[in-house]
Amino acid sequence: MAPAPYLVFDGVAKYFGDLEVVAPFFNLTIKRNEFVVFLGPSGSGKTTLMRMVGGLETPSVGEIRLDGLPIGAPDRERGMVFQSYSSFPWLTVSENVAYGMKYRHDMTPERKKKRLDHYLELVGLTDFADFYPNKVSGGMRQRIAIARTLAAGSEVLLMDEPFGALDAQRREGLQLELRRIHRQDAKTIIFVTHDVDEAVFLADRIVVFSKRPARMLEDVDISAELGPDRTIALRDSEQFFKLRTRILRMVRAATGEEEKV
C-alpha cells in the first residue's frame, strides 16, 4: 500500500497584486519524512510556495493541506530556517536553541533541558553552548537554526537557501550533516535552493521550477537513483555526475540558458 499523502498542494496559485508568482494550478503531494528540494532560478516563486506551507503567506487560489487539515497561521509544527538572520544575536547558542521550546507548556523544565542537550549534541554545538552567535561561524549559526526548529518539535522543516551564504567547504559539511540529521531524526523537509549540486546531493526528490511565475517542470526521484545514503564519495561518482548534468540541463532549459550556449 502506498503511504498516505502527508503534505498536499491542491490547485495552488499566488498573486501579489498584478504579479503572478505561482502559476495556476500547482499540485504536489509530499510523503511523510521525504526530503524534497525545490530547485529553480532565483526569484522564481519557489520560496513563496514554501512560505505558504509555513503559513507566512496564504495561497490566492487553492489550498495546502498537512495531514489532511488545511494550513492556517504559522505554528511550531512547521519550522523555518532562513539564509540570514537565522538566530537571535542577543541570545547565546544554547538560549537560541532553547527558544524553540519557549512556548511549549507541555514539557517540564527537565525535559526541555534534556532535549536542549540532545539537539546541541546532534548539530555539534555543545562546546559552543555559551557563545553569542557573533562569536561563531556562519555555518554554526545555521546549525543553531536547525537545532532550534528540531527542538521546537517541528514536523516539517522549511529551509530557504540556508547554506547560501557559506563557503564551499562548510556547505559540504553541513549538507552531510543535514542528511544525517534527516535520517536520524526523521522529518519532512522542503529545501529551497538554486544550486544543482546541493539539490542532487541532498534530495530524495527534486522539483524543478520554471522562471516566475513558478510552474513545476520536472519531478525527479533522486533516491531511486542514488539511494538514501549520501557520502562524500558519492559526490565524485559517475552516477552522481550524470544525474547532476541531467538536472542541470533541466534548470538551463527552465531559465532559457540552453539556447544561448
Binding site: L56, R76, R78, F88, P89, Y132
Partner: protein, 316 residues
C-alpha cells in the same frame, strides 16, 4: 624557468620577484600568441630587479576607515581640544577679539568656579537636569509604546503619521505663547516645552527602530509557536533595544538644546535662567560659563550612556 620556480622551495626573499615573474610569464604567453616566442627571456630579465615594496604604506591618520590606536585617538582628541582653547585664549589676549564679547577660556573657567562657589550654579544645574529628565522620561514613556504601535499596526500608523509629522515640524519657540496661555508660567510650561521638543521626534525614531527589526526574527518567533504579543515582547522589542537606546541617547541631547527656550519663560532657577540673567547685564563671562556648564553635563551624560550601551549590548 617558470616551471622551476613553481616547484620546490623558493629562496628566501625570492617570493616577490617570483610573483612578478609569474605575472610576466602570463604577459609573455599573451605576447607569444601575438608575436614569436623569443621575446620571452627579454621580458623576464627586465622584471627581476623590482623594488620589494610597490607602494609606501598609507598614512593611517587620514586613510578612509584606517586603523588608529586607542592611545593615538585619545592624544589627538586632547590635542585638538587644547589647540582650540589655545587659539581662543590667544586671540583675546592679543586683542584680536574684544574680551567683553568673547571672554577667554581662563576667565570662563574662573567664572564657572566662582559661580559654583557663590552663585549656586550646581543648584541651578541640578534643577535644569531634573527638568530635562522629567520631560524626557515623559516623552519616552509615551513615545516608545506609540512608536512601536505605529510601525507594528498599519491602522495606528496611518492614523497617527500625519499628525506626528505635522507637529514635528513646528518650531518649539513658536509654541511658547500658547503653552503660557495653557499652563501659565510654572514648571508645567517648562516641562511641556521640553517634552514637545523630543516626544514627536522620538515617536518617529522608535517607529523606525521597530520597522528595521528583520522580518526573519518575527517569522522565527511565529514558527516556534509564539503568539503575536509574545513575539512583540520577546523578540521584536528585544531586537530593537540597541538602536532604541542609541536614539534615546541622541534625543536626550536635543532636549538640552530646548532648555534655554524653556527656562527663559519667567524662570528664576536653572541654567537657562542663569545664562539669560547674565546676558541682561552684558556679563559675557557668566553667559559663557553657563554654556560651558551645559556642554560639560552633556559630554559626561553622553559618555556614561555610551558606556552603559556597551555593557548592555555586549553581544553586538
Amino acid at each position: 624557468m617558470p616551471g622551476g620556480t613553481l616547484h620546490g622551495a623558493p629562496p628566501p626573499g625570492a617570493i616577490n620577484s617570483q610573483q612578478s615573474r609569474l605575472r610576466d610569464h602570463r604577459v609573455t604567453i599573451i605576447k607569444a600568441t601575438v608575436s614569436a616566442a623569443p621575446h620571452a627571456p627579454a621580458a623576464n630579465a627586465a622584471s627581476t630587479p623590482r623594488p620589494l615594496r610597490r607602494n609606501p604604506p598609507r598614512n593611517q591618520f587620514f586613510a578612509f576607515r584606517g586603523t588608529l590606536s586607542k592611545r593615538a585617538q585619545i592624544l589627538t582628541a586632547i590635542g585638538s581640544t587644547l589647540f582650540v582653547l589655545a587659539v581662543w585664549e590667544l586671540s583675546t589676549r592679543l586683542g584680536l577679539i574684544n574680551a567683553t564679547f568673547l571672554p577667554p577660556p581662563s576667565v570662563t573657567l574662573e567664572t564657572l568656579w566662582n559661580m559654583i562657589l557663590h552663585k549656586n550654579l550646581l543648584m541651578h544645574a541640578g534643577i535644569s537636569t531634573l527638568r530635562i529628565w522629567v520631560a524626557f522620561a515623559l516623552a519616552v514613556i509615551m513615545a516608545v509604546p506609540i512608536g512601536i504601535a505605529m510601525s507594528s499596526f498599519r491602522g495606528v500608523g496611518a492614523a497617527l503619521e500625519p499628525i506626528v509629522d505635522f507637529i514635528r515640524y513646528l518650531p518649539v519657540p513658536a509654541l511658547v505663547p500658547l503653552s503660557i496661555i495653557w499652563f501659565g508660567v510654572g514648571e508645567t510650561t517648562k516641562i511641556f516645552l521640553l517634552w514637545l521638543g523630543t516626544f514627536f521626534q522620538l515617536v518617529l525614531l522608535v517607529a523606525d527602530d521597530m520597522r528595521r527589526v528583520p522580518q526573519e526574527y518575527v517569522e522565527i518567533s511565529y514558527t516556534v509557536g509564539a503568539r503575536p504579543r509574545q513575539m512583540l515582547t520577546d523578540v521584536a522589542f528585544r531586537a530593537m533595544l540597541p538602536s532604541l537606546f542609541d536614539n534615546l541617547r541622541i534625543t536626550l541631547g536635543w532636549c538640552w538644546t530646548y532648555l534655554i527656550i524653556a527656562e527663559i519663560v519667567a524662570a528664576d532657577t536653572g541654567l537657562g535662567f542663569v545664562i539669560w540673567a547674565a546676558r541682561r547685564y552684558m556679563n559675557t563671562s557668566e553667559v559663557m560659563a553657563g554654556v560651558v556648564a551645559i556642554g560639560l553635563i552633556g559630554l559626561v551624560t553622553d559618555q556614561i550612556l555610551r558606556l552603559v550601551h556597551k555593557r548592555l549590548f555586549r553581544y553586538l
